[in-house]
């Protein structure tokens, strides 16, 4: 991908769906798996280059990146079998994008109207007299009860989800680590690399490490694309073997 095809950096996006949708619309594509696989690289490049990464939404960004990787890898490796869950996460992303696009389109109506021709409420009527008028709840006990409720409901201060951030390893780091480890062992498997092979993976553990695995996979594909490594999978669901050709001299 050359630089010129990627010129949306100046724009501030509202979130991952907005980013993705804009990438698709920019290429005048419709929302489907083909267009998504085409913009996957753009999206990943975008989030990699994001200077002010919206920390609160980083998990959303990465999760969508992971789905894009699935779509992309499916298009690169047509034989790749996806699990039901993976299939549905792809469908889900598509339908979310369609839905989001719909509201984005609709928001133009509001944008065109908002504040343009405002209907004004009448100013307080001069006919109104100030008259002392408490109601049945205007007593000390009730007020005490109400104020305590108010305090309990004061919006909590924004908490930056550190835990989430910690889990989401950056792509750069992952690619670096991948390059380094491949150079060392010249031949290793994806399982070892991603940590999948280290210990028995129960479902919970897998969920926990899902992002990391996905990021690993993504990094691997990136390396394949850059010609740094070759990958080989003998049997579906079996381990993927990664091999360097000539480290340091990428083939283009």
């Amino acid at each position: 991908m050359n630089e010129s095809s990627y010129t949306i950096k100046t724009h501030v996006f509202e979130g991952p769906l907005d980013t993705l949708l804009s990438l698709i619309e920019k290429r005048k594509l419709f929302i489907n798996d083909i267009s998504l696989s085409q913009v996957a690289d753009d999206y990943i490049t975008y989030i990699k280059n994001l200077a002010d990464f919206p920390i609160a939404d980083s998990a959303h960004f990465i999760l969508i990146a992971s789905t894009l990787i699935l779509i992309k890898s499916k298009s690169l490796l047509p034989d790749l079998q996806l699990t039901e869950e993976e299939e549905s996460s792809i469908e889900d992303l598509e339908s979310r994008l369609v839905e989001y696009q719909k509201y984005k389109e609709l928001s133009r109506h509001l944008r065109d109207r908002f504040g343009m021709n405002v209907s004004y409420v009448r100013q307080p009527s001069r006919e109104k007299k100030i008259v002392f008028a408490p109601d049945k709840n205007t007593h000390v006990e009730k007020m005490h009860e109400v104020i305590r409720r108010v305090i309990a409901e004061i919006p909590k201060k924004e908490i930056v989800p550190h835990a989430v951030i910690k889990k989401v390893m950056s792509l750069e780091e992952m690619i670096e680590s991948l390059t380094e480890r491949i150079t060392k062992s010249m031949k290793m498997s994806f399982k070892d690399f991603s940590g999948l092979g280290k210990e028995e993976m129960n479902k919970e553990k897998f969920q926990e490490n899902k992002i990391e695995i996905i990021v690993s996979f993504l990094a691997m594909l990136e390396l394949v694309k850059q010609g740094i490594i070759d990958v080989r999978q003998e049997v579906h669901f079996q381990d993927i073997e990664m091999e360097t050709q000539r480290v340091g001299i990428p083939r283009y």
Binding site: H11, E25, A56, R96, E105, L106, L110, V118
Partner: protein, 206 residues
């Protein structure tokens, strides 16, 4: 036609200068709620060519200046029009307008981002409110009458494409995937076509 009732309603709405529930009007004027509904329709008709409008939202009504008169009012009070809702605000308001009442989680699912801040902002600007109803203990957000006033609408149904969208939404929620009514499918297709025609979409239009 009950001219006297229409006049009384107009006087009360004029005096109170606030939203009032239809059933409260019925109580004050000692008539059946249906009579109020009929009289309001009539008042709406009478006012349609005037400087004042009847705005209805949910079960409440309020008298306001006609949206076409905004220029004259603004000149008098020398205010700048408030148009700085921002993209996030607009998007969120749009979802609430067309899909509301809606819980926060659903808004966030559609937008793909955390929407706490933007919702708080809309609440403080009195453009959305938490409905008195809840969904499994979660707050449901709806548009306020004030939001309608800012949009110059007399009724939420006057929003462009409102009925059409509601129809597709209902079709989606009532029937699961792939069992859209023919109607809804057609509307969806139509919308997709429209979108196609309208592109290229401009990024910086907001």
């Amino acid at each position: 036609m009950n001219t006297e009732l229409v006049q009384k309603i107009e006087a009360i709405l004029f005096y109170t200068a606030e939203e009032i529930e239809e059933k409260e009007l019925a109580k004050i004027l000692e008539v059946r709620p249906e009579e109020i509904t009929v009289a309001l329709a009539e008042l709406n008709e009478v006012l349609s060519s005037r400087g004042v409008r009847l705005v209805r939202h949910d079960t409440a009504v309020i008298l306001t200046t006609a949206p076409e008169m905004s220029g004259a009012i603004e000149k008098m009070i020398r205010t700048e029009r408030e148009r700085d809702l921002g993209r996030a605000g607009l998007e969120t308001l749009t979802i609430i307008a067309y899909k509301g009442p809606v819980i926060k989680k659903e808004i966030e699912y559609i937008r793909g981002v955390n929407s706490d801040y933007i919702l708080r902002n809309l609440l403080l600007r009195s453009l959305v409110k938490k409905s008195t109803e809840e969904e499994n203990g979660k707050a449901l957000y709806t548009l306020t009458t004030e939001a309608l006033l800012h949009l110059g609408l007399s009724h939420i149904e006057d929003l462009p494409e409102y009925e059409k969208i509601k129809k597709t939404l209902d079709a989606h929620t009532h029937s699961e995937k792939n069992t859209d009514t023919d109607d809804a499918v057609e509307i969806k297709k139509e919308m997709e076509q429209e979108m196609e025609e309208e592109m290229p979409y401009t990024e910086h239009g907001y």
